[in-house]
């Protein structure tokens, strides 16, 4: 159920005053976008993404009385979710790497030929191999259909910085996926 703006405003006011049921309706309306954002940031790890989304919404509940509407609720929620994701990423980076953590992207050569599965794998590898800031720029600008300004707000960077990160990410993907060529038959499914 997607709330109409008027009812969302009413739910927002009620949730700010402590109405958990109204907050539940807000979660229902926004969970899809936030979970998608995190699944894409987590490269498809749905369990981790949902855990982070849950924590982000709990944090939103606690911070909601301070929400003054300078940003849209959607952008604000995305920002909370992204902040939670960054904390997780930092914790993962601080964790000593084990043998099972070996990065398959760095180990595997790009797939060859017209196998759609291999091409999809190439794509996943190419995206996951991007530097973190460029990966996040790509996810927020392309996958979430946020405007440049909204994405910049979520990521906490100036729009121009985001624009150049996006350009670098696109250039790297073009380079890494150069072997796709113009053969339409080779497009991934």
């Amino acid at each position: 159920m997607v709330s109409a703006p008027a009812s969302e405003a009413a739910d927002l006011a009620a949730a700010q005053a402590g109405d958990a049921a109204a907050f539940g309706r807000l979660v229902r309306a926004h969970q899809g976008r936030v979970r998608r954002q995190l699944r894409r940031l987590c490269d498809g790890d749905a369990a981790l993404a949902d855990e982070l989304a849950q924590e982000a919404f709990v944090q939103a509940w606690q911070a909601l009385p301070g929400f003054r509407g300078q940003a849209s609720l959607t952008t604000w929620l995305h920002r909370l979710a992204y902040t939670r994701f960054l904390m997780q990423r930092r914790a993962d980076a601080a964790r000593p790497a084990s043998a099972t953590d070996a990065d398959p992207i760095e180990q595997a050569a790009p797939g060859a030929g017209g196998d759609p599965g291999a091409l999809r794998l190439d794509l996943m590898r190419a995206v996951a191999a991007l530097p973190a800031d460029e990966h996040d720029a790509l996810v927020h600008c392309l996958a979430l259909e946020l405007s440049l300004n909204e994405a910049a707000e979520v990521l906490g960077v100036p729009p121009d910085t985001l624009k150049s990160r996006l350009a670098r990410a696109r250039a790297k993907l073009r380079e890494r996926l150069a072997d796709w060529r113009h053969d339409r038959q080779k497009e991934p499914s």
Partner: protein, 141 residues
């Protein structure tokens, strides 16, 4: 990078970007799984969303309602409670200071005169009075 794919001009670059973005969109759509926006989705997706909402609601910590949202009587009670807590905090600080003084006094007791002990007794009595005051004043509002 192959010239055939990349092309030599901006037009080919844009074409390459579009193909990559289309492939990315397909990949992400597949990765989305059951996540979708409520009413637009089928029942399984709606159930998944409902379960997620329930999980979030189960984990919500208790949050105090803003004072403005309370009726005046409840707001007054909360204010009194807050002041009582502040008073208790102050009382604990004073008690801590008293204990400190007592420890100090005990360590110098051997060389203390009767006048010193009287002064110490007076300080302790004053401290106790401050403690009582800290505890009682907020309760009176």
């Amino acid at each position: 990078m192959t010239a055939a794919y990349m092309g030599r001009d901006r037009g080919d670059e844009i074409d390459a970007d579009r193909r990559i973005e289309a492939a990315l969109a397909a990949h992400w759509a597949q990765a989305d799984g059951a996540v979708a926006d409520g009413a637009l989705a089928d029942s399984a997706v709606a159930d998944d969303a409902d379960r997620f909402v329930q999980r979030v609601l189960m984990h919500l910590p208790r949050r105090a309602a803003p004072v403005a949202a309370l009726d005046p009587q409840e707001a007054l009670q909360r204010l009194m409670h807050q002041r009582r807590r502040n008073g208790l905090g102050m009382g604990i600080e004073v008690a801590g200071a008293l204990v400190g003084i007592a420890v100090l006094a005990t360590s110098t007791m051997g060389s203390a005169s009767e006048a010193d002990l009287l002064r110490l007794g007076g300080m302790l009595a004053l401290g106790a009075a401050a403690l009582a005051l800290g505890l009682l004043m907020p309760a009176r509002g």
